[in-house]
């Protein structure tokens, strides 16, 4: 990510997620954004948004890193790729979740918009915990 792009991303995040984010390992192959997100119910989650060398040209991968493991209403672990739950797989215990469709991603989008997408995914996840309905009941494909 260029310094100009980093400056732009930081300005937006500071406005909407002030003091809840931190860039890690910038200028390395392991760069990511660590973001804390609080849902409407007050529960706190942490996200890891991986920043590939060619960000923002490619769609970043997003993982939930806290709390772990994420559980379904029936107590089983939310694990692996699932159409019903809009997940793509795992990296250790971290669950990779779906956010932007690749065809809707372009360099004019931002990390802030990804965080908001994930916020909606988390609201749908908590809806699942309340009602038992799968996440795809709440999220438009």
């Amino acid at each position: 990510m260029t310094s100009e792009r980093l400056q732009m991303e930081t300005a937006i995040l500071e406005r909407y997620f002030s003091r809840k984010y931190k860039f890690e390992n910038l200028n390395s192959s392991n760069a990511f954004l660590d973001v804390g997100v609080k849902t409407q119910s007050g529960k706190v989650y942490r996200l890891k948004i991986k920043l590939s060398q060619d960000y923002p040209n490619s769609l970043p991968e997003v993982y939930i890193t806290y709390p772990l493991p994420l559980l379904k209403k029936d107590g089983s672990k939310l694990d692996g790729a699932s159409h019903d739950f809009h997940t793509l797989g795992n990296e250790g215990n971290n669950i990779q979740i779906c956010h932007f469709k690749s065809e809707n991603w372009n360099p004019n989008q931002s990390l802030y918009k990804i965080a908001l997408k994930v916020r909606i995914w988390l609201e749908a996840y908590e809806g699942h915990l309340r009602t038992g309905k799968t996440i795809d009941n709440y999220l438009t494909s």
Binding site: Y16, S41, L88, I120, E123, G127, Y138, S141
Partner: protein
């Protein structure tokens, strides 16, 4: 958006998402992200939203990968 808009409930949010997912046109209150609190609030129909207001519809309407 004024600061007097009531906070949306978790159920408000999931109900809105479910209606959008079913293609039901929601003409009622809009849910708007308030960056000062990090919460969604309920904006009355026809209320004047600021130019940079982020509604739940604008976040979710282009869909999620699966």
């Amino acid at each position: 958006m004024s600061n007097n808009e009531p906070k949306a409930s978790s159920q408000d949010i999931t109900n809105t998402l479910e209606q959008m997912n079913k293609g039901e046109n929601n003409e009622s209150n809009q849910l708007v992200f308030d960056p000062t609190t990090g919460e969604f609030v309920v904006a009355k129909p026809n209320s004047n939203l600021s130019a940079d207001a982020t509604t739940i519809n604008s976040i979710a309407q282009d869909g999620f990968a699966k």
